[in-house]
Symmetry: C2
Subunit: 341 residues, 2 copies
C-alpha cells in the first residue's frame, strides 16, 4: 500500500494524507485522526527512499569503519556505535555503515557523502594528518570527528579526550608512588590519540628528569595478545620495569596474564595503569576496580558525537563545535609502591 492507494481509500488527496501523517498544522484534527488510524489499519509505512528523495534528506548518518590489515574490527567501535546508534534511533535517523579495507577510507567517504545517502558522517580514528577532513570540507557535508588531528582544530567539529593530560597524570601518579622505570604499551602512534598519549607520558618523565627509554615503549594494535607479548618482553629484561602504562583494557588483560604466568603479582611486583574506555563487556568496576586507570567512556563519546552531528545537520550555518573531555583517574588494585630493591 502506498500513499496514493491510501488516499484513494480515504477519499482524500495525497497532499492531505501526507500532511496528516507528518504532523503539519494545515489539517484538521478530525481528519488527522482518521488518516492515522487508516494508515495503522492498512499497515501503511511511507517509503523512506521516496520521502528522502522528495525532501532532499536521507535521514541517515554514515560511518566508515576501516578494517585493519588482519580484517580486524577495532572492538572499541562497538561501544562507540552503540552509543551513537541509540541517539540516531531516537531521532529517527539510521546508521549506515561501510566496512572498508584500510586505506580506501577517503574515497569511500567521498562517495558516501556525494550519493546523497546520508546527511552527515562521523570520522573515526583520525590519524595525525588526516586527508578525510579536507575532503569532507570540500564536499560540504556535515561531519564530526571523534578525536582530533594535528591540522587546524578550529575548522571542524570534534569531541576528544584530553589524552595528553590523562597520560601525564597517570605517569605522575606512578612517579609519585616511587616508580622510576615505567614502560608504555601504546596503540599505533600514527593515530592521533596514541601520539598525544605518548606526549603526556614523555612530558611527565621529562619534568621528573627521567630519561625516556625507547626499549620499554611498544606500539601496536591494542589487543589482548599485544599486551601479553609486550609484557613478556619486558619481563625478560635484566631489570624489568616496575610499572607499565597501557592504552586499553584489552592489552592490559594480556599484560596481567603475562605477569601472573611469571609468578608475579600485579599491584605488588608490577604496577599497571591503563586507559579505560569503559568497554561494556570488559568493565573495570566493582568495589575496588581491578585496574588503576584513567577513564573516559567511549560509549558516552558516541552519544555526544552523534548529538553534535544531528545539531549541525539542523543548523548548517553553526560554527564548528568542540568538546575536550578530561579523563578521571580511578584507583584500583593494580598499583602500589615499587618493591624496594
Amino acid at each position: 500500500m502506498n500513499l496514493k492507494e491510501l488516499s484513494d481509500f480515504l477519499k482524500l488527496s495525497p497532499t492531505t494524507v501526507s500532511r496528516a501523517i507528518n504532523g503539519y498544522p494545515e489539517v484538521s484534527e478530525a481528519t488527522r485522526k482518521r488518516v492515522v488510524e487508516a494508515a495503522e489499519a492498512n499497515n501503511y509505512h511511507p517509503s523512506h527512499l521516496a520521502s528522502g528523495l522528495a525532501k532532499g534528506k536521507a535521514m541517515a548518518i554514515g560511518h566508515v569503519i576501516p578494517l585493519s590489515k588482519h580484517m580486524v574490527m577495532n572492538p572499541h567501535f562497538s561501544d562507540f556505535i552503540s552509543g551513537a546508534g541509540d541517539v540516531y534511533c531516537k531521532a529517527g535517523y539510521d546508521m549506515l555503515i561501510r566496512v572498508v579495507a584500510e586505506g580506501e577510507e577517503e574515497s569511500v567517504y567521498k562517495k558516501l557523502a556525494k550519493d546523497g545517502r546520508v546527511d552527515g558522517v562521523i570520522v573515526h580514528g583520525p590519524s595525525n594528518y588526516d586527508a578525510r577532513i579536507e575532503a569532507l570540507q570540500d564536499i560540504g557535508i556535515p561531519f564530526v570527528v571523534h578525536g582530533r588531528t594535528n591540522q587546524d582544530e578550529s575548522t571542524y567539529n570534534w569531541v576528544d579526550v584530553n589524552n595528553v593530560r590523562a597520560f601525564k597524570r597517570a605517569t605522575n601518579y606512578l612517579l609519585d608512588l616511587g616508580h622510576r622505570d615505567i614502560a608504555f604499551i601504546n596503540g599505533f602512534e600514527f593515530m592521533n590519540f596514541a601520539m598525544r598519549r605518548r606526549s603526556g607520558y614523555e612530558e611527565a618523565l621529562h619534568e621528573a628528569s627521567i630519561e625516556i627509554n625507547p626499549e620499554i615503549m611498544f606500539t601496536g594494535e591494542m589487543t589482548e595478545p599485544q599486551g601479553y607479548e609486550s609484557m613478556k618482553q619486558l619481563l625478560k629484561r635484566a631489570k624489568p620495569p616496575t610499572a607499565i602504562l597501557l592504552s586499553s583494557i584489552l592489552p592490559s588483560m594480556g599484560a596481567m596474564r603475562a605477569v601472573q604466568e611469571a609468578g608475579l603479582t600485579v599491584g605488588k611486583d608490577v604496577s599497571i595503569v591503563t586507559f579505560d574506555d569503559q568497554l561494556s563487556f570488559l568493565q573495570n568496576s566493582g568495589d575496588i576496580p581491578m585496574f588503576t586507570s584513567v577513564r573516559s567512556s567511549i560509549r558516552d563519546a558516541g552519544v555526544r558525537v552523534a548529538e553534535i552531528l544531528l545539531d549541525q545537520i539542523n543548523q548548517p550555518k553553526a560554527d564548528p563545535y568542540h568538546e575536550l573531555w578530561e579523563a578521571e583517574l580511578v584507583l584500583g588494585k593494580s598499583t602500589g609502591r615499587p618493591v624496594s630493591v
Copy 2:
C-alpha cells in the same frame, strides 16, 4: 550535478547516460567512454535514493541490534558485522544498523522491512521461540537467521553452529580426562544457542551417568565479570569442580583471573574449556593456545550469512537454505587430568 545536467552537457539523453554508467549493452563503447570520463571529471555520483526509488531496490541490508538492559552491545556483534559488512561492501550494498532497546526488535524489524529502506535483513541472536521469524515471513522480505530457533527450521534461511555436538564433545573430552565435577557457565538460556549448548552438556553427562548439578551451572550475560564472579562462587564450594565449561572467551578470561587470584593454576588445579568465537581482539592462538576450546569463527558466520542473504535477494524464489557448521575441538593449555584427591 545530476543526470539531467550531465546529459545536457554531453548533448545526450538521460537515458543513454544512465545506461552508459550502469553498463547496459545498448550503448556504444565510444559513447560509454565519453560518458564515464565526463562523469568522473564533473564529479558526478548518481543519487542512491533516486535510483533506489526508480528500480525498487534499496541496495542495503538491515541489521537490528538489541541493546541489553544495561545498554550493552554484545561484543560478538562486532566481529559478525565486520564479516558481513565486508561482503556487502564488495557487492555494492550498504549495511543499515538500528540499535534498539531490548524488546522492541520485532516492531523495528517490521518497520525497517516495510519502509523500503533495505532489501533484506539479518536476524541476530534468535531466542528459543522468536516472533521475528513469522513477522518477517508475513512481510515477505528476504532474511537469514544467524542461529536457529525451536520453530520449524525448514521454513527459513539460517546458518548455525552445531552447538549441541560442540558442547557434548567438550564435555566428553573433560570426562575422558577423568573429570567428574564439571561446572558450566553459560549465556542466557532463552537464547537458542545457549539452550542447545546446555543440551549437549547434559547429554554427555547423562551418557556418563553423572548427575546434573544445577548448583554448578550459571547463566548470564557473557562478559568478563560474569566469568569472574561465577568462578569465585565455584571456588568457594567445599569441593570445587575440577573443570569448567564456558560459553565464550570473555567470561573465560574472567574465570582465569579468579583462578589465578585464588593462587591456583589453570590447566592443573582447574581445567577450562571454552567456546571460542575467534574474536579478533581476543585471539586464542599461538603455538599452543591459551584455552582448550570448541572453535568456530563468528566472523566467518557473518560472511556466510551475508552471502546467503544476497543470494536470496537475487533469487527470491529459491528454497530456504541452511548450513550447520561443526566446531573444531582445539587443545590448549587450559586442560589437564584432575589432581587426584
